[in-house]
Amino acid sequence: MAKIAIFGATSAIAAAAAREFCARGDSLFLIGRNGQKLQAIVEDLSVRKGADQIVASATADLCVRALHAGLLAQAREKLGGLDVVLIAQGSLPDQKACEASVEATLAEIDTNALSVISLATLAGNDFERQRQGAIVVIGSVAGDRGRQSNYVYGAAKGMVAIFCQGLRNRLAKSGVTVTLIKPGFVDTPMTAAFDHKGFLWAQPGAIGKLIVRATARGADEVYTPAFWGLIMRVIMAIPERVFKRLKL
């Protein structure tokens, strides 16, 4: 029975993972920005959980990085320790708006990269001290290669990926795992503007299950669903002088 803190808990993928963790008997501390949505998720898990499981929550805007240390301490206190930190907050930028505004671009980098790196740093130091723990971060296939349609988001996710690599390398000797989840297209409110037809689209429930599995085995990097590993290998193999002319 693990003690798990989930940041960005109202995201569809995080909420699905929370339900899976809860079904496994874990205790959860959920952090989200929207109090009402967070409450709906907490109520649901409170009905599902076993008598000795804890489900608690805190409302916070994770872009305010000064709150991070306090939230981690709060999670540890409520759960009586901490084994897993799932970092899932993020937003899907309007690429065109970002191109027109440095401010919008940096705000997206802030949400999707800096706030993640801040939390991962703090959690990493805690886990290093206790010589045990798992950090799980939601990255994206978009972080594998920059594309004109979505490179601000991609750059943030790419930064997170390289940060996680380094952190993983550093913490390996302390028995702490760092897992980067790279979902492909997922049918969530974040992607509501897209046409969800087609076999490439996965449901958040399926991604939630894969996250729980990857966490349990302390995986390094996981494409969810796995076929995205193949797709991205092909995309990565295209030489840049060809790639730059493609419309992707």
Binding site: A16, R19, K37, A40, E43, D44, V47, P189, H196
Partner: protein
């Protein structure tokens, strides 16, 4: 979570896959606190849950279809009192998976467990225990309705009762049902005691039925409507008492894998099926059985509706008042066999006397007969017109949740409370069914 019985269809259809109409747009609902999605040019909205009704009560051609399956959270559960609140997109299947091991059961269930709570309320569904338990609405203590003007109306039998009466059986027209609180039934385990009896004629059925209603909380009859006298099986059940040893049970799920170019249900296959089913071995006396095969025989074959092919099929379900039941049911069955039409699943049951709560609720005292027919175009419609005449003649009613073709007159006749219902219809909610039966 969902998975089973979902199909993952992009275009919302109803279970009989007729009519094949498309909404202008669909919008997925994720949180019950969110405001309704804007119309953006669509003339109206309508909630769509699991699409398990047979016809067009869940369809909104050219409008906005609100997919409610994202509202799948529990809200509160009082384990001691058996009272549960959940969002409207939770299915009875999910409820049962959660409740049964804890000793609770849904108080009323239709013949499939893949319906949502919202759908169960909006159609005020009934089950084999209607003569004891009434319909679904009798067990709802509270629900929340989200109106297109943004107002949230919390209603129940003791609070804003007029809104409750309009919404129970209100076909989703009074607004979006966001959450529902129901009172559950206590059970000791996942098993039922069942008893099946053969009858060779309708007369025998009526005698058996009186007995079964008196002795059993669940009962319904399957009728071979190809036979001249109306032979069939009376199937009764109750939840099993506590046992110290129960048989192992592993539910098997099969899936009907393809869309045949034409319906596989035809005169020949029907005759064979009905003859076999009538002769299916029945245990002597009451027997212990898991609840699924008794309550949900069809749920064992996912996507069984595909057997009728692309043109789909029709359900025809009517209720006839008690004094007209015997003569009326005999006439209906006669009419069907005269036309050489036949039905796989003719189900006959008598409703109890408890008055339904909803203004447009279908269940009322009398006998209800449900049949399904492959869609053979004009030929099928001719049969229905004949059946309609018999139903109207006996002051009966048709069930909107099973209808794709009733006339506005038939609808008006079936629901005398219609004028009282109209003021509660949300101006921005509508359905293909509603537009069809409100035409003049």
């Amino acid at each position: 979570m969902a998975g089973r019985g979902d199909g993952g269809r992009v275009t919302p259809l109803s279970w009989n896959r007729y009519p094949r109409v498309k909404p202008l747009r669909v919008a997925k609902l994720d949180f019950r606190h969110d405001p309704l999605p804007p119309l953006n040019g669509a003339p109206s909205r309508l909630a769509y849950g699991q699409g398990r009704s047979y016809g067009d009560v869940c369809l909104n051609a050219g409008g906005l279809s609100l997919l409610t399956r994202g509202l799948d959270r529990f809200i509160a559960f009082d384990r001691a009192a058996g009272r549960l609140s959940a969002e409207a997109g939770v299915t009875l299947d999910e409820l049962l998976t959660f409740l049964v091991p804890q000793g609770w059961f849904v108080p009323v269930t239709p013949g499939t467990r893949f319906v949502t709570l919202g759908g169960a309320v909006a159609n005020d569904v009934h089950g084999k225990n209607h003569h004891r338990a009434g319909s679904f609405g009798h067990h709802v203590s509270e629900l929340e309705l989200l109106r297109s003007d943004g107002e949230r109306i919390v209603c129940g039998p003791e609070r804003n009762r007029e809104w409750f009466e309009a919404t129970v059986g209100g076909l989703g027209l009074t607004g979006l049902i966001t959450r529902v609180t129901i009172d559950l039934s206590r059970i000791a385990n996942a098993f039922m005691i069942t008893e099946g009896k053969r009858f060779r004629s309708l007369d025998e059925f009526w005698a058996l039925n009186t007995e079964a209603e008196r002795d059993w909380p669940y009962t319904a009859a399957w009728i071979d409507c190809l036979s001249a006298h109306g032979r069939g099986l009376q199937l009764a059940a109750r939840h099993a008492p506590a046992h110290t040893a129960l048989p192992l049970h592993r539910p098997r799920v099969r899936k009907f894998p393809l869309d045949p170019p034409i319906s596989l249900v035809n005169a020949l296959s029907l005759k064979a099926f009905n003859a076999l089913y009538y002769r299916k071995p029945l245990p002597r006396g009451p027997a212990l059985s898991p609840y699924e095969p008794y309550l949900y025989p069809l749920d064992a074959v996912l996507d069984w509706n595909r057997i009728y092919g692309r043109s789909g099929f029709f359900q025809y379900q009517c209720v006839l008042p008690p004094e007209a039941s015997r003569a009326g049911v005999a006439q209906l069955l006669n009419g069907i066999s005269r036309q050489g039409a036949g039905s796989f699943l003719a189900v006959l049951k008598t409703f109890g006397d408890a008055p339904s709560l909803g203004l447009l609720s279908f269940p009322r005292p009398g006998a209800t007969l449900a049949l399904d027919f492959p869609n053979q175009g004009a030929r099928t419609e001719r049969l229905f017109v004949e059946l309609d005449a018999i139903v109207a003649d006996h002051s009966g009613a048709l069930y909107p949740a099973k209808d794709a073709r009733m006339s506005p007159e038939m609808f008006k006749r079936s629901f005398p409370n219609l004028p009282r219902f109209l003021p509660y219809v949300d101006p921005e909610f509508s359905s293909s069914f509603w537009r069809r039966v409100r035409e003049r």
